[in-house]
């Protein structure tokens, strides 16, 4: 199995990559910090995978085409793409500073859309495009601000892509994790709903194996978000969660 991981230094991406590595997969890892990318690659090799790395800022749009050529050349074909890079931003900054808001949109929406637009025609029947969105995309909340908007945009794009590619037998998986213990949430106050990246990583691999379209991880977030979406707007606007 040949896997392209974008944002490979993400804790969630690492957890999924470990499961694939243990199966002997070949992984092409892209991230922007080359030292940390090296640490991830060493780990995956020790676990039984093959790993190649490419240090690249994924917001650098000029590099998108070369990156994909590079990966295809190295691996021959791609069975699974995992899009994992993401930026939460600090709540104060992104609500007041348009540049901070734009950076979140570029990281979570523009770069993934550009990359997947380029990748889509290169994927073979049976291959899978998996992208990590978030439960935050299901309904805009003050606490997640433009981050939620970026994930809502990504959800919509993935849904369209799924329809478009299903005729060719290319699968598109939308992954919606709840709260996860990762560097992204390191500064946040923790509560009982937080899960480990390992749980999410295993969930992603299972969803890819089973050809799922949209998964909430863990599963109970589907129920929670169903309820959240049902709250009437007149009530919702006064809530503070």
């Amino acid at each position: 199995m040949k896997v392209l991981v974008l944002g490979a230094t993400s804790a969630i991406a690492q957890a999924a990559a470990r499961v694939w590595a243990a199966r002997g997969a070949e992984l092409f890892l892209v991230g922007r910090n080359s030292e940390r990318l090296g640490a991830v690659a060493d780990d995956l090799r020790a676990r039984g995978g093959k790993a190649l790395t490419l240090a690249q800022d994924l917001n650098d749009e000029k590099q998108h085409e070369p990156l994909i050529e590079n990966a295809l050349q190295a691996m021959g074909a791609i069975d699974v793409v995992l899009v994992a890079q993401g930026l939460l931003g600090d709540p104060a900054g992104r609500d007041e500073d348009p540049a901070a808001a734009e950076l979140i949109l570029r990281t979570n929406l523009v770069a993934p859309v550009r990359l997947l637009t380029l990748l889509a025609p290169r994927m073979q029947p049976g291959a899978c495009i998996a992208a990590i969105s978030s439960t935050s995309g299901d309904r805009g909340r003050a606490q997640v601000g433009v981050y939620g908007a970026s994930k809502a945009g990504l959800d919509s794009f993935l849904s369209a892509l799924r329809q478009r590619l299903s005729r060719r037998g290319v699968r598109v998986l939308t992954v919606k994790p709840g709260f996860v213990h990762t560097p992204m949430t390191a500064q946040r106050k923790k509560h009982a709903l937080y899960t480990s990246p390992a749980v999410i990583g295993r969930g992603i691999v299972r969803a890819v194996d089973r050809g799922r379209d949209v998964v909430y991880l863990p599963w109970y977030w589907r129920v929670i978000l169903l309820i959240v979406r049902l709250i009437p707007e007149t009530v919702f606007k006064r809530l503070s969660f």
Binding site: E35, D42, A46, R47, A186, K190
Partner: protein, 408 residues
Amino acid sequence: MLGSWGRYPPPRHVAERPIAWRDEPLPEARPLLAYGQGRSYGDSCLNDGGALVPTAGLDRFISFEGSLLRCESGVTLGEILSLSVPRGFFLPVVPGTRHVSVGGAIANDIHGKNHHRAGTFGRHVRRLELLRSDGRVECAPGDELFAATVGGLGLTGLITWAELELKPIPGSAMRVEAIPFGGLDEFFALSEESDARCEYTVAWLHVVRSRGIFFRGDHAAGAARPPRRGLIVPFSLPLVIDLTTEAFNKTYFTAQKMGPRSRAEHFEKFFFPLDALAGWNRLYGKRGLLQFQCVVPTKEALQALLQEAPSSPLTVLKKFGELQSPGILSFPRPGFTLALDVPNRGAETYALYLRLENIAVEAGGAIYPAKDARMAPKSFARSYPRRGEFERHIDPAFSSSFWRRVAR
């Protein structure tokens, strides 16, 4: 909020600053203390008023060549075994749970059922890197800083990675015997005979009736079926421990006695029986539990302790061997080690703990810091006489609730 396994004392740190990469600097908060899997019972993994630095994100393997494994300090022993057992290697020393981190295993210089053969965990560490407030430093056996860090309770800095020497095994199975015995003399005899022959030995004791079961085992060829996991204690259940204690002991005895005498079983069942019940510490309710573990040099002292000890679902007894522990503050030393769980009932429990502590320390023994929440400073001073030598290596940016309590 992160706490310790015994849920006593309750944690009162003011910040949690996780570390996820080896190249990260130390967080700016002071004082700091690394936090592995929180499998220490008392306050050695707590830092009231300061910051804990959880290492769960430092969980990468670095290399695994031959028998040498290099990994980050937050990797758990369970993760290592999942990787190494299929390749025919085992950890040289494992404790009673697989959910401890490499950093925690070094900082408490942990011991296992094979202490008489392998000594402590620290004896098998070949190299490690410390992240200190004045920079990074690698050290190895022979260096003073290494001897301070092994068993150093996290006070000499944050271990970022370590290199361990694993041992080859013939398969994932264990050949195990469970032998019921009555009275301490039988235990001493079984211990003597078994330690000479078997790699792993330990006894479970029913204190009140002074009966027990002696377990001994060796790695064996072939594979056995791994035990089932999945039972979880989801929230605090303030069970009436007196009843549980009796019931637990009885069931345990009957089950064991009915089983075949020598059998093959999966290594997880032999080493980590409690891991099948995730979060079992919650059975002791909100006030938590105290574990008392000490080592005493003589049979007489052991007898005196058992006179004082209450019935407990988990009373574990083992004879430590003669192999020298490598850490300045390592706990294991020749003698008998006894560990028992006591539900926390406040003053009466603390009084019992103090009686046991006094017997052990006066007999020339020591209390295990990884399990301790009560030991008096004078007991610590008496049983860890090399404290002065150790103190020179403490990183001024690090401290712990345990250290502020016992090193006054």
